[in-house]
Symmetry: D2
């Protein structure tokens, strides 16, 4: 599956008193990664909010392999892993850019809703975006 | 001026890799302190949102005296320091509860608005709350 | 299994522009829940750091059932779900206190390490804590 | 005074239930701005930690002019405003990149310390960095 990339640099605000990145900070970077993925396939938020189309989170999973440290540059990979007519599942990998070392892997589940958090059928609401996502998923 | 108190316990998520509480975390506790202050004078958010009355932040100031550490219990004092017909200024002190040591002092400024961020005259919109705040301020 | 309880009240800093609690905030409350669990069984951080004994996070999972809102009081339940000689797995439930509605369920995995993140055998390092955790786990 | 620039894009995790960026998020971007400033004058953290030289925060001030929204790209300007032999004060401006609109201005004070938070004289400890900072400040 094609992966979509973005970057972040660790600030003190992302770390904790163990001297490493706080485990929660990666979940924020997952959000950054999936927003950039949507932008890269032509669906930035400015377009999605006009549909209106939201992807509220139904689950988060993150496995921690190795710690990141203050001032590290992180490479965030995000891609659609599974898709149904009413849900989508994203997968993530975050690496230390300088060394390529894998730090965390993870996934998030999303419902497809309107801006009132009511479920929608994307295939009907916006066939172009549904087609774009399905094409990516079928590529694998 | 009468002070209004609440408490918080420091978690790893509040600290940073310097081994102490991240400077930003105190600004979150200021928010907790002023919400509890409003609740204690009889105006919890459930009442304010019906008016509707919001207090968006116009400035934040925080002076750091001494660091807090993981698992410290903090005592947050908040009180209204200055008031005009369209603004209010809150003051704060945060202490380590166990020792009473002063950790930070600070202040926040607030506009008085409705839920569209449009300025309102509280004295007209909700004379009871305006009176309650003014009485506190005049006490000094 | 016996559950251990603590509480938190939602501030604006925990919410996001969807008008609900940001999905990441619950992971912070998991941390609060497991710290309080350790305190309630007699092992607050001040005791653990003297051993020294750390529980770095190896995985996080969270399933979102229903949203929490600004100013909600949350009831956080945390308990040890699985245990080996070198790892422990915690489980969590977070409910809206006023209604009892279940908002999220989740789990976290932890390695048992010293303060250099080196694996330790708790049964050897601190048999009393190992025994206390094992007793809880065997209770089920 | 020469300004030093970096950028950030707003994620949901930076916003709150008022539908705008949470006031605290800007303080995080101040941290990003001053780290990038130090990097741009040739003193990334990897160099500073070897000295060792830390700049713990002694005060934060932020004035809010106009709100930022989800998915906005922010332009963060940071520069040294005042300097003594033992302290430095940084100034900040954050603008919406697309429109150039000024969103917040602010400042932070910093003590000059070693990695134990003990005060140091930078002019003695690292005359090159002291000279580089002083030259910037004298430029004004």
């Amino acid at each position: 599956m094609k992966k979509f990339y973005s970057e972040a640099r660790v600030i003190f605000g992302d770390t904790d008193a163990m001297g490493i990145v706080y485990h929660n900070s990666y979940i924020r970077w997952f959000e950054q990664g999936r927003t950039e993925f949507l932008r890269q396939i032509g669906y930035p938020y400015s377009v999605l909010e006009k549909i209106p189309f939201w992807l509220p989170v139904t689950f988060v999973h993150c496995d921690y392999k190795s710690p990141a440290f203050y001032d590290d540059v992180l490479e965030i990979a995000a891609w659609p892993e599974k898709m149904t007519y009413v849900t989508i599942e994203m997968a993530y990998e975050i690496r230390r850019k300088e060394t390529g070392e894998l730090l965390v892997t993870g996934s998030t589940g999303h419902a497809m809703t309107d801006d009132k958090l009511k479920p929608v059928r994307l295939a009907k609401l916006c066939p172009e975006l549904f087609g774009a996502l399905k094409a990516l998923y079928d590529e694998e």
